[in-house]
Symmetry: C2
Subunit: 394 residues, 2 copies
């Protein structure tokens, strides 16, 4: 990401903020100097520059948290906590939820995590990293009932932006026409405490919000079997998996995902083999190993899983190599759909600042909206493949 | 590796060494202080402490180089240079060897790289990192004709230690009973210049050394096809691949390997999935992609390769997970065969200093030698798998 070289002129009451965050002023100043805490950009009259985001975790404040001042008092939108993963579902459920009797299961959708809240009378959407995303902000303003934020100015709606018009993880599997926001958490702006599951679902329903699917509550003794059934069914329709929660939201939730989604991730990622992190491949491979053991697979089932894994890795890579060899650069083709043409401009600027090399197509009118195709260039994979085709060495 | 806390008492003529290496004395002193250059250990009366190894590349001096003084003058055993890899054989040959007409092809064996030279009248064997390996040193003394080192005290024999009694990469595929040393390079101790290929083979033959297999010289226009044939045949017998060389050894060599060896590497590594580097998996996966494209594989061939890759990754991992779940810790079972029981003790100490957690079995007499089975513990994989089985989260 491009560094902003203009922090200096942002007014942040350092002593006040330090007191609110319970940090020494000197430490806060150091974090600002090292840009571990830095202002957002954009908004009318650069208003988002008042929103300071945490690029890393600091003391007990999560990465992606956003600090700002509202009516003379500070506010902190907590970064969305990382949800830990069960590798062996049965043992993980028994161990993690040993203090409660029943767990609730909701769908983990495959989109991108967004937190939405009211800032000075306007809805603003933050990415996981605490950046104001202009596209998500426009979509949130259009999708979400303003009244909620008037009635609950201190709440943060956490949800998944999912659907085909998703510029990060486009998915057709949810039967969504464009993009929708699915609430999975409502948290307090400040201490960050989540609503209890059923209260949250009730509140979201009152305001007509879309929500992630609720599969039910299960006794701890039945949960592993029930969730395995759910996950097998979700896999068949290429959905991602589930999040298993304490209905009271006191114990932290855990996630568990389908092999099919895992392999779909790999298929997408390996197209751009040299752009993905090495960990991306490794972590997904390991999940397959544990699931196969827990599911006590037969020789035939294991063989099928091996073939699926191998194909998810090799086929997209060979396709990309062939394509580049034959003269066509590869790109990740995504799209956005907006109401206001200005959002296209803002989103373009946003990706540019993030260092994403993207080519925007001409806006195509669809009803009262505009569809814009975006080609995200995967420079590293293109360059590496081209150089191998020219006979350079690895 | 354990740091030695006793560099201070080693006498190194810093000014003299700096002049020899063409480095400022202050820089050399800094490298010693930061232990980028540090003494070896062991030998009679700790004599190996006079052998200073380079833990990283410094200016033009390769990682793994060893500096020492002989008869008042300094000597430098150059680190063995990294051989770059062809991903697409045809383009790589044309590009890399464009200045010459023919290339020579030798086998790349799957063992470990050792440099052997005379130090003060004794044969000493260094690992790639420049450590004196007591096992390799004993084996080299037993396997190699002393006369060579008397006749050529300033030459370094570079070769592959391969066979079943190899404590790093045991291989049965070479038809070797225990362990042998296969010469693939002879270099000058000092400037590091290699012998020309045929001179080197002749010299090695004169002294009765084992050598890596020579497949022939090929014109640059035929080389890709010929080498592809060789690699396909080597793959069938689970050999590793080839190194392609300028017969005059002016242009640097390049390597190219078989898919079968690649998959065998993965099968071994994924047993210890949490101990291997993430890059290990990634790099091998990418090689499969490029080879499949260059070999213009049919749908059936690609599918076979996908299955082979998936199986090489998943099967060993699931076996390890099951084994740990059922209560048996996993280990890498290797063995050494020695003449002198003291070598067992020295090698044990050596592994300990390297931080390798190894359990040595009782020496079993075989003829006039001793076979010692060694269980190398893969702590990280054992611990991670156990914790997952207890229901901890990833």
């Amino acid at each position: 990401m491009n560094a902003e070289n203009d922090t200096a002129d942002i007014e942040l009451d350092i002593d006040g903020a330090a007191e609110y965050l319970n940090l020494p002023s000197s430490k806060l100043k150091g974090l600002l100097d090292r840009r571990i805490i830095s202002p957002n950009w954009g908004g009318i009259d650069n208003e988002y520059r008042r929103l300071f985001r945490f690029d890393k975790s600091v003391s007990n404040i999560e990465q992606g948290s956003v600090l700002y001042k509202k009516d003379r008092s500070f506010k902190l939108i907590r970064g969305f906590p990382k949800i830990q993963r069960a590798m062996l579902l049965g043992p993980a459920l028994k161990n993690h939820f040993s203090d409660i009797n029943t767990v609730a299961v909701e769908e983990k959708m495959n989109g991108y995590n967004v937190r939405v809240t009211d800032i000075g009378g306007n809805i603003v959407a933050f990415t996981r990293g605490g950046l104001v995303c202009p596209y998500s902000t426009e979509r949130a303003r259009y999708l979400l009932d303003r009244d909620f934020f008037k009635d609950y100015p201190d709440l943060v709606l956490c949800g998944e932006m999912a659907g085909p018009d998703n510029p990060y993880v486009p998915k057709d599997v949810y039967g969504i026409d464009s993009l929708d926001f699915f609430v999975f958490d409502i948290r307090d702006n400040g201490h960050g405490m989540p609503y209890m599951l059923h209260e949250r679902r009730k509140l979201a329903q009152e305001y007509g919000f879309s929500q992630v699917k609720f599969f039910g509550e299960f006794s701890l003794s039945d949960a592993a079997d029930e969730i395995t059934k759910i996950v097998r069914e979700l896999g068949k329709v290429q959905h991602e998996g589930v999040v298993i929660k304490d209905p009271k939201m006191i114990i932290s939730p855990i996630k568990y995902t389908c092999s099919q989604s895992n392999c779909a991730d790999l298929r997408h990622a390996l197209k751009f083999y040299n752009d993905i992190g090495r960990d991306y491949l490794f972590s997904r491979v390991v999940r397959e190993g544990f699931q196969s053991v827990e599911w006590n697979e037969s020789e035939a089932e294991l063989q099928k899983r091996c073939l699926q894994l191998g194909e998810s890795i090799l086929r997209p890579m060979t396709e990309s190599i062939k394509q580049v060899r034959d003269g066509t650069r590869i790109a990740d083709n995504v799209q956005i759909r907006v109401k206001d043409p200005n959002t296209i401009y803002l989103y373009k600027e946003y990706l540019k600042r993030l260092g994403v090399d993207a080519v925007f197509g001409e806006p195509e009118p669809i009803g009262n909206e505009y569809l814009v195709k975006i080609k995200k260039q995967n420079q590293s994979t293109n360059d590496k493949t081209e150089s191998m085709c020219k006979g350079e060495l690895w």
